[in-house]
């Protein structure tokens, strides 16, 4: 970890990677938080779009 933090470019790359991980985690948490009915409605809306 300290190898990454010693390099500014590597720190920025790691920040972007962490952002991508956060976006994926956000999607997963939102999917888990949806109730069965909400998920069904959301799936239908996605299909309609």
């Amino acid at each position: 970890m300290s190898k990454i933090l010693e390099s500014l470019p590597m720190t920025i790359v790691a920040g972007v990677v962490l952002t991508v991980i956060m976006v994926i985690a956000t999607h997963q948490i939102n999917n888990m938080n949806q109730s069965g009915v909400e998920k069904a409605v959301s799936d239908i809306q996605k299909k309609m779009n």
């Binding site: 920040g15 962490l18 952002t19 956060m22 985690a25 956000t26």
Partner: protein
Amino acid sequence: MEDIIFFLVRYLHVLCGVMWIGILWYFNFVQIPSMSKIPAEQKPAISKVIAPEALFWFRWGAAGTVLFGLILAHMSGYDREALTLQQPEIGFGMWLGLIMAFNVWFVIWPAQKIALGMVEADAEAKPKAGRRAMLFSRANTLMSIPMLFSMLSAQHLAGY
């Protein structure tokens, strides 16, 4: 009236945030990479004058950002949902901001006081403290990228 207070709190949150992250990026993008290029006799200008002044606004900017951010979240009614990640879009950003502010006050500032000679410490402790402050400052720079993404996307990229 409530709208004006709400706006003022958001405005102060952003002002303090710009102060905090602006100085964090100044340290990491400008000061730290430039130190090796500065002649030895000129280095005290950084370590004795500029860095202590920057650290003052840096740590109080962090405190103000967190204070007004928490008030804003409470006024908006999403503080509990965000911190328990039931609203992860803003929740991740809040947690990253809190971890970063903790680093500022309880790791970077105490280490910088030793590194800059603002408190009594033996000669061996100074370079160790300087390295600790630099690494945690870099860790905050790393976390600032997803933190700012979270803060902005929660407001301006709904349902990403």
